[in-house]
């Protein structure tokens, strides 16, 4: 008995071990940020070895980094939200062509940044990150550069910059923020003021991410029936709009399972994930250009409705299971 008491005293004084947060941190966040850092570094290495836009190895490395990003985009709290890192990694949407203008300015040589590529992090976010590299590799207006052209230097600078941010995110999650989440409610914790706030942040992030799929990933290209906007589809250039959506959904699914592993506690949410996963996989519309075709458009609209329904069912079931609520303000302000 006495030995047991001593053992307890030696344990870290966490306010209350929260299995939910432990699962989110250990099973979702840490492996995902590690994978993203690894893929971003692999892209950096690939770009160093060849910057040729159509080289299969470089494109494969970029696609792998993009895949890994979709595995961490739901972490809308902590290192990704500090220092505008989310923007620097994934500045999208960009309906006004900020990206093309910024890249053109840099490539024209008016901006000497390419002579000091280690300062590429001072460039506007529209010229940084995954989508800027996508433009350089896939946009026919940008991807005809040779090995000694500014385009090559830009791809290398942007890839190194991306790898550096990804490493920062990984490092901060691993060495700081995981503990910040686990110590929610302790007096020294200024980020999560009580034990529910960490759960609340994860739950809100997940619902916000699904809303992003509804309004941006699907909503932007859908536009209106009279005015569809196929050019606004995410990753249209690389023809992976559908893949992004599928991976986004898969990430939500993993995070939801980490939050509430008990299938009986979220029966409808589980069913929704399964059905929507199947609907998305069956789309056969890699870049969402189907928004202009009435029949294919109908499938995208149905998918959008299904995402919205998932969000609402998940809100109901997970909030009950987690003892948290969705606030009134984020979705219907005034």
């Amino acid at each position: 008995m006495r030995i047991l008491a001593v053992v307890f005293l030696l344990m870290p004084l966490h306010a209350q071990a929260d299995g939910v947060i432990d699962r989110v941190v250990d099973e979702f966040a840490l492996p995902a940020v590690a994978a993203f850092a690894e893929r971003a570094e692999a892209l950096n290495e690939a770009a160093k070895s060849t910057c040729a836009a159509e080289h299969p190895a470089l494109r494969a490395a970029w696609n792998a980094a993009m895949d890994a990003w979709l595995g961490i985009q739901d972490l809308r709290f902590g290192p990704l939200e500090d220092a505008a890192r989310r923007q620097a990694i994934a500045y999208w949407p960009d309906t006004r062509g900020h990206r093309e203008r910024a890249l053109s300015r840099i490539l024209s040589g008016q901006d000497p940044i390419l002579t000091t590529p280690d300062r590429y992090n001072q460039e506007p976010v529209s010229a940084r990150g995954l989508y800027a590299i996508e433009t350089m590799l896939y946009d026919p207006d940008f991807n005809h550069y040779g090995p000694s052209d500014p385009g090559c230097l830009l791809v290398r600078a942007a890839s190194a910059d991306l790898a550096a941010i990804a490493a920062e995110v990984h490092n901060e999650w691993q060495n700081e923020f995981a503990d910040v989440m686990r110590t929610a409610g302790e007096p020294s914790n200024t980020r999560f003021l009580d034990s529910t706030e960490a759960r609340q942040a994860v739950f809100t992030a997940l619902l916000t991410s699904i809303q992003f799929d509804v309004l941006e990933r699907l909503g932007l290209p859908l536009g209106t029936f009279d005015k569809p906007r196929p050019l606004r589809a995410e990753s249209r250039l690389s023809g992976r709009s559908q893949r992004n959506l599928e991976l986004s959904l898969a990430g939500h699914d993993r995070l939801a399972r980490a939050l509430v592993p008990d299938a009986a506690a979220n029966v409808v949410t589980r069913e929704d994930f399964e059905r929507i996963g199947w609907m998305a996989a069956e789309l056969d519309d890699p870049d969402f250009s189907g928004v202009e075709n009435p029949i294919r458009r109908f499938r995208l609209e149905a998918l959008q409705s299904a995402f919205a329904l998932l969000r609402s069912e998940m809100n109901r079931e997970l909030s009950a299971a987690l003892g948290v609520t969705m606030g009134l303000n984020a979705l219907d302000g005034d």
């Binding site: 939200e81 006004r96 916000t208 606030g327 009134l328 984020a330 979705l331």
Partner: protein
């Protein structure tokens, strides 16, 4: 005994029996509307350290409130398009009377009291056209409607009175909505403005935005200790194209100063500011973005100082040098330089606004 009786008689004769003041309501520093776990709505009085001091049930979802300058009385407004406003006796936790709109008018969620506290001004629209009106109600006549004047634009939202004066500041949001609903009908042509009105409803000054940012709906207001008006905007254009969402202006200045964080940080607001506050003696201003889950803080020159990450944060108010925030998870949090100083949590979802009572007293 005799002396005491004489003293009381004297008081009665002079008609100066002490009336109830805000201290009798438990000295709230703020009021805010909330949704409770069972789905009901209520208005709460909150002390300067975040404790509840009264609760009054509301008939439907509330939005903001106007606090009387000295009587413990607040008028709570329904969420737009409003079907009710209720006058609440905060000392006894009772609804004193209800205000209903004139035929064809809708409340828009905000109001303000005159300097002497006898006239209540309400932000309203003509339901059919979205034209803005300021409704006038006489408190001494039992909140009878005594008139109205034009707000100076379409879709007025928040109105405030400049402290120490009778000048009203009106955020004419510019958005026309359908009667009885929230559908936005004129986003292509909307033209918001900030209008200063005198007691008669004549325009003292009107500020418009430059044409390229005409889709920035001016919606919420805060007035600093130095009478600078801070206005918060909500961008109706493409989210990635959002301009500054905070403007600073002093009556008489030809134009407003616009304040925004560096582009990549600004993007985190998602084009939406839900509330605005001036704090720390008018040296700092803050806007909240519940959509982005963050608050941006600026100095008096409109320079960005810092951001605070809080999911679903919306209500903002000043408590001396502290910035007080409410969110949809029941937290009232006071912070200084981005660090928490105290917080309280209750099982309720705070709605959009945290209304400071001090600002009404001036």
């Amino acid at each position: 005994m005799n002396a005491r009786r004489q003293f009381l008689a004297g008081l009665l004769a002079a008609g100066t029996l002490p009336r109830l003041g805000w201290a009798d309501a438990g000295s709230p520093a703020f009021v805010a509307a909330a949704q409770e776990p069972n789905g009901d709505y209520a208005l709460f009085g909150i002390t300067a350290t975040g404790q509840d001091c009264f609760r009054v049930p509301l008939p439907a979802r509330g939005h903001a409130a106007a606090a009387h300058p000295d009587a413990p009385e607040a008028v709570a407004f329904a969420r737009r398009p409003g079907i009710y406003a209720v006058v609440i006796d905060c000392a006894h936790g009772e609804i004193v009377t209800r205000l209903s709109t004139e035929t064809g008018r809708e409340f828009n969620g905000h109001g303000a009291f005159s300097l002497d506290g006898d006239t209540l001004f309400t932000s309203e629209v003509v339901a059919e056209t979205g034209e803005g009106r300021i409704g006038l109600w006489s408190r001494s006549a039992g909140y009878r409607r005594i008139g109205e004047f034009a707000s100076g634009g379409i879709g007025p939202h928040e109105i405030r009175r400049l402290p120490g004066s009778e000048i009203l500041v009106v955020a004419n949001g510019g958005i026309r909505t359908g009667p009885g609903d929230r559908e936005k009908l004129n986003l292509d042509t909307m033209a918001p403005n900030l209008t200063y009105l005198d007691r008669k409803g004549d325009i003292v000054q009107q500020l418009t935005l430059s044409p390229e940012v005409h889709q920035a709906s001016i919606r919420h207001l805060a007035i600093s200790a130095t009478r600078r008006v801070a206005f918060a905007m909500q961008w109706e254009g493409q989210v990635d194209d959002a301009p500054a969402l905070l403007g600073l202006h002093r009556l008489g200045e030809p134009a407003a100063a616009l304040a925004l964080a560096p582009q990549e940080i600004h993007a985190g607001l998602k084009g939406y500011a839900g509330s605005v506050a001036a704090f720390d003696s008018g040296t700092k201003f803050a806007i909240s973005s519940p959509k982005g889950g963050r608050v941006h803080v600026f100095d008096a020159n409109g320079r960005f100082i810092s951001e605070i990450n809080r999911p679903d944060v919306c209500g903002l108010a000043s408590e001396g040098a502290l910035l007080v925030m409410t969110d949809g998870f029941g937290t009232v949090l006071a912070s200084s330089d981005g660090q928490p100083v105290w917080h309280q949590r209750s099982a309720r979802a705070w709605d959009n606004h945290l209304v400071t009572l001090e600002s009404a007293i001036a």
